[in-house]
């Protein structure tokens, strides 16, 4: 299908973009990579009056280190993230998750800010940000703020961003050097949305879990965090931890839907199994190394 008519403006600065958002309150959409928005336009599931293109804003894309964290600019392309040495070194789970995002051709356009702004519950980036405790840097005409990821996802495709606010970067705080990073997803075909997806990070010191981050995608109305399982892991010895028990606890904090692709019970069962197996393998490999 063809998109319904709309106006198009190019923003040449973040200030300009958020002012345009404010001017067209509620009737404008930001155009980043467009790999989800343009299909929604073509299917007429989205019919904004104005598209504000943020691709030409200088300095909005880019990956940099600052203050014990890795800052990724909103319009940084997914394929840039996939091959970036800073991301590989400091945020390996993000690099690995990127390999599951769409396809090579869509990753050449798709951006991290676009994905986090859309907040698709079955997408890789929102769950990765949640598992790793990222912060969302956002700008409105009146203020710049950072939003803690726990406060960011409010519902399906619904975030804490105000109508006149845009994401300028995602900030991923460092985890300890030898953290175990896990990204796994079960999908029917490569590039499809996951039926069940897991992103996790585990810091182990002296054989004991000291920090844990567990995020799920495709497992609820938003990306889901297993806060109780994270807390339960702290202080447990990695060698003898009851992973089946932790997996059950982790799944209790999810809320999967039944749809044409899989029912909720299936997603829960598969989620618990992959958690137990993949986390167990990763810990086993660490012991062997």
């Amino acid at each position: 299908m063809k998109a319904a008519p709309f106006d198009y403006v190019v923003a040449d600065s973040v200030e300009g973009a958020v002012e345009a958002l404010a001017d067209h309150a509620g009737d404008a959409a930001l155009l980043a990579g467009g790999q989800t928005l343009v299909p929604l336009l073509a299917l007429r599931m989205a019919m904004p009056g104005v598209l504000i293109d943020i691709n030409r804003i200088d300095g909005l894309a880019g990956i940099a280190r600052s203050g014990g964290a890795t800052r990724i600019g909103a319009t940084t392309r997914q394929n840039t993230i996939l091959h970036d040495p800073l991301v590989a070194r400091h945020v390996p789970a993000l690099a690995r998750a990127t390999g599951f995002v769409g396809h090579h051709q869509t990753r050449n356009r798709g951006t991290i800010g676009g994905s986090l702004g859309l907040a698709e519950p079955a997408a890789e980036y929102p769950a990765t940000a949640l598992a790793l405790g990222a912060r969302i840097e956002a700008r409105s005409p009146s203020a710049t703020r950072e939003i803690a990821i726990e406060d960011y996802f409010l519902g399906p495709y619904t975030t804490a961003l105000d109508m006149d606010e845009m994401i300028t970067a995602a900030i991923f705080p460092d985890w300890p050097e030898d953290t175990i990073h896990i990204v796994h997803e079960v999908a029917r075909r490569p590039g499809d949305f996951a039926l069940v997806g897991l992103v996790a990070a585990f810091a182990v010191e002296g054989g004991v879990f000291t920090r844990a981050g567990i995020g799920w995608f495709g497992m609820g109305p938003t990306p889901m965090k297993s806060a109780r399982a994270e807390a339960a892991l702290i202080g447990q010895p990695a060698a003898t931890v009851d992973l089946a028990g932790i997996a059950r606890l982790a799944i209790e904090d999810t809320d999967p839907m039944s749809d044409i692709h899989a029912d909720a019970a299936y997603r829960r069962t598969v989620g618990a199994r992959i958690f137990e197996r993949i986390v167990g393998d990763a810990i086993g490999q660490r012991k062997a190394a």
């Binding site: 299908m1 709309f6 198009y8 155009l31 467009g34 073509a42 394929n79 090579h104 051709q105 869509t106």
Partner: protein, 157 residues
């Protein structure tokens, strides 16, 4: 509905045109630039038939607005073969290895392969991953995987 003046280089030729905001790059390339080698299968980013090279990388032209290509350099399948008809090495490999049947998905496939093997030699796994961005209803991909093997490791300046 806004309309915009754009200037792009398509297959080495500069084109100035007036485009409606909602016009996709795919429709611009087919309708205005006359590059009907850009195949449009789904019009919403699923099939990969419309893949072209924009500023050096493979993208789905149905997921870019024509107005966004202002100032960009675009290559379509029409640009691959030499003027005397000599096939591009990707086209030759597709032909030799039976990488196509009806040919509908083929222009997209060859543009992806041309993009990722330009100036570097990805391994066969990386090529296979990039091929997963194309739906082919005919071939079962076996021929294309042979193409991937043949192109993998073949360095091109």
């Amino acid at each position: 509905m806004s309309s915009h003046a754009i200037e792009t280089i398509v297959n080495g030729q500069s084109i100035s045109a007036q485009v409606e905001a909602r016009h996709t790059l795919a429709d611009f390339l087919r309708g205005t630039a006359g590059c009907t080698g850009v195949h449009v299968g789904c019009e919403h980013g699923v099939c990969g038939a419309c893949t072209v090279i924009v500023d050096g990388v493979a993208v789905r032209s149905c997921l870019m607005l024509a107005v966004q290509a202002d100032g960009a350099t675009v290559a379509t399948a029409e640009s691959l073969a030499a003027p005397d008809g000599t096939l591009h090495r990707v086209q030759q490999a597709m032909k030799d290895e039976y990488g196509l049947q009806c040919g509908f998905c083929t222009p997209g496939v060859v543009m992806t392969l041309a993009a990722i093997t330009q100036g570097r030699s990805p391994d066969a796994e990386e090529i296979k991953d990039a091929l997963s961005g194309h739906l082919c209803r005919c071939t079962g991909y076996q021929g294309m995987l042979k193409v991937a093997k043949r192109l993998g490791g073949e360095v091109q300046a």
